[in-house]
């Protein structure tokens, strides 16, 4: 731009400078207001297991084709029951690992014998679809040691969680990224 240095400011330039100054000031004010109640830490989404109603939305409403919500097992709460109501269909034919006896639609729970009469149940997260069928069985008739959690190695941290929007229990909430899980423990109140 080869304009002389002492060119007078035109009305347009003056107005434009004024508008820019106003915009900068309002951006600064907005930033100031927000910064006064902002936080350095990011939010992540998580399920409050105490509020979860085991409706099954987590399996289907996530933006990912395979939901980021998986079933999690708090082993310290587990009764290691032989007749696990999270593992077996109601009134199973036999207490075996046969597919027709299992509650899980993808056979994601591995049942292993530990010692008489105790069995251990471990979730295979690659198979789990987060449908909460086992969670319902365990919470209704058992210790409630199975529960759903958003797994943060899978969650893409949508600005608005698609499952949260449809959660009938209002169980989803933003939690600080440094404490991204709401685990069930034996000392739960």
């Amino acid at each position: 731009m080869n304009k002389p240095a002492n060119e007078p400011t035109t009305r347009r330039t003056f107005l434009r400078n004024g508008a820019r100054l106003a915009a900068m000031t309002s951006l600064g004010a907005l930033g100031g207001v927000l910064a006064s109640r902002s936080q350095a830490e990011n939010w992540v989404w998580q399920i409050d297991p105490q509020k979860c109603l085991r409706c099954g939305n987590c399996a289907t409403k996530c933006v990912l084709e395979q939901s980021a919500v998986k079933c999690v097992h708090a082993f310290a709460m587990c009764g290691y029951c032989n007749l696990c109501t999270g593992y077996f269909e109601p009134e199973p034919n036999a207490l075996t690992t046969a597919a027709e006896n299992q509650l899980c639609p993808t056979a994601a729970i591995k049942r292993t014998f530990i010692e008489d009469p105790y069995y251990e149940y471990v979730i295979d997260e690659n198979l789990c679809i987060g449908c909460a069928k086992c969670v319902e069985g365990c919470s209704r008739f058992g210790n409630g040691s199975l529960f759903l959690q958003i797994r943060h190695d899978r969650c893409v941290r949508c600005n608005e969680c698609a499952i949260a929007r449809t959660c009938p229990g209002d169980a989803f909430r933003r939690v600080p990224a440094s404490q991204p899980y709401l685990l069930k423990t034996t000392h739960a109140h």
């Binding site: 930033g31 099954g56 949508c158 990224a177």
Partner: protein, 437 residues
């Protein structure tokens, strides 16, 4: 003492557990540990902000100093890989205004510093150097820019008509965010499914349409939907520097006339003005200026009327409505669907639900009045701007509509001389407009 404490703790634990956990006295079995895969490391968010700032700086330098389309192209590739395919479209400036609105109107939500930075940095840059963010830093823009193979010219009436959609979508997003209803700008983003290579079927269909469209219409999302683009457009109207086709002066050779695939190139204003047409034009402008407040008032009234049906899009209000309907005429749901489950929850504490729904209704009324007024203002100002006479003397990209993609530079013979691709002797003579026209 310790023993008592332990016993007490255990009994408390057993109280809620129907089947006491075994102690595995025979096998001494160790309990597996519940895994908790960590989130993305927190310091990486500052890397995102740093990459954004560096990208913006680089874009400004490439546009104004280097005037290099190739540079912008490679910057686009980088931004597409980093913000697009690596960060999978989140965090992004486009959705950030919603977080700001939610943070302003809801005390429970603190806006993370990263989001404030993503909201403010591109706007500040736009106030000085135009839409450098769109040029090569925004992954959405970069993707559409790279997809463009055969740009078709959008007719002016359609361009202007669709051009107000971003402003309306912005108002829509802010209305929803401020009432805590959701983030529709993120929810209906048609490009993020491409970055994630995953998504609900509706959005994948939208993404496919956008990709197809982007091959023949330059940047359809940026021009006709992007709500952050609307903010950038307003900001760039006041920008200190602007993108100019020519590096020094315009010879009115018209070679750049069709170089912009995004319909941002503007012709110089016709030199002569007929006094007769001036009178009718002034009268029309006068009427339009009267119309603007009328449109705002009409929009606000209409928004207020629509507040009740619109508020049902909020999950809390919707649940309260269903709860009231259920109380009036009970329906037995039989199977426990998610809907039935939420009703059951409502029945546990109807007071709290109804109060918060009533409060949301009031918020919605105000938000819808403002949103309606905003639509009226946008439509009115668009009509006014169409009737304004310009004093443009050169071929220039429009301040607000220019994405600073740097495509037009090479169409200018002055530029070709500047970079040494053409001898200065071949230049058309620098004559004023009258001679050419």
């Amino acid at each position: 003492m310790v023993l008592i404490f332990l016993l007490f703790g255990l009994s408390a634990a057993f109280a809620e557990q129907r089947f006491p956990p075994p102690d595995f006295s025979e096998t001494n079995h160790q309990l597996p540990i519940t895994t908790t895969p960590p989130t993305r490391a927190e310091w990486l968010q500052y890397l995102d902000v740093a990459v954004l700032a560096a990208g913006l700086g680089l874009a400004v330098w490439l546009i104004y100093k280097r005037r290099s389309r190739r540079g912008i192209f490679w910057l686009s590739i980088f931004s597409l890989s980093y913000f697009g395919f690596y960060r999978e479209g989140c965090v992004c400036a486009i959705g950030a205004p919603q977080n700001i609105a939610l943070g302003l109107f809801h005390s429970g939500y603190a806006v993370p510093v990263t989001v404030i930075a993503f909201f403010a940095l591109p706007l500040i840059v736009a106030l000085f150097a135009g839409r450098a963010f769109c040029a090569g830093v925004c992954p959405h823009g970069a993707l559409q820019d790279l997809l463009l193979i055969k740009p078709l010219k959008v007719p002016a009436w359609l361009e202007h008509g669709l051009g107000i959609l971003p402003f309306i979508f912005l108002g829509f997003g802010l209305t929803f965010a401020a009432t805590g209803t959701g983030f529709p700008i993120c929810r209906y983003d048609p490009i993020v499914p491409i970055f994630r290579l995953n998504g609900p079927s509706l959005l994948i269909a939208l993404a496919a349409i956008t990709v197809l469209l982007a091959m023949f219409v330059g940047r359809p999302y940026c021009r006709f939907l992007c709500p952050y683009g609307a903010l950038l457009k307003i900001s760039s109207l006041a920008s200190k520097w602007r993108v100019r086709v020519t590096p020094d002066y315009c010879t009115q050779c018209r070679l750049c006339e069709h170089s912009c695939p995004f319909g941002a190139m503007r012709e110089p204003a016709p030199g002569t003005i007929e006094p007769k047409s001036l009178v009718t034009e002034r009268r029309r402008l006068g009427w339009l200026l009267v119309l603007v407040p009328v449109l705002i008032a009409g929009g606000a009234w209409f928004g207020g009327e629509l507040a009740v049906p619109v508020s049902k899009l909020n999950p809390t209000v919707e649940l309260a409505e269903r709860y009231i309907a259920q109380q009036a005429s009970p329906v037995d749901h039989g199977v426990m669907t998610p809907e039935a489950l939420s009703l059951e929850r409502a029945e546990r504490d109807p007071e709290a639900l109804l109060t918060s729904a009533a409060d949301l209704r009031r918020r919605f009324w105000l938000a819808c009045v403002l949103f309606g007024g905003w639509i009226g203002l946008v439509v009115g100002l668009k009509l006014v701007s169409l009737s304004l006479r310009t004093r443009r003397t050169d071929f220039e990209p429009d301040r607000g509509a220019c994405f600073a993609c740097a495509r037009c530079f090479r169409s200018c013979p002055q530029e070709l001389v500047r970079i040494g691709q053409m001898p200065a002797s071949e230049l058309p003579a620098p004559v004023p407009a009258a001679a050419k026209a």
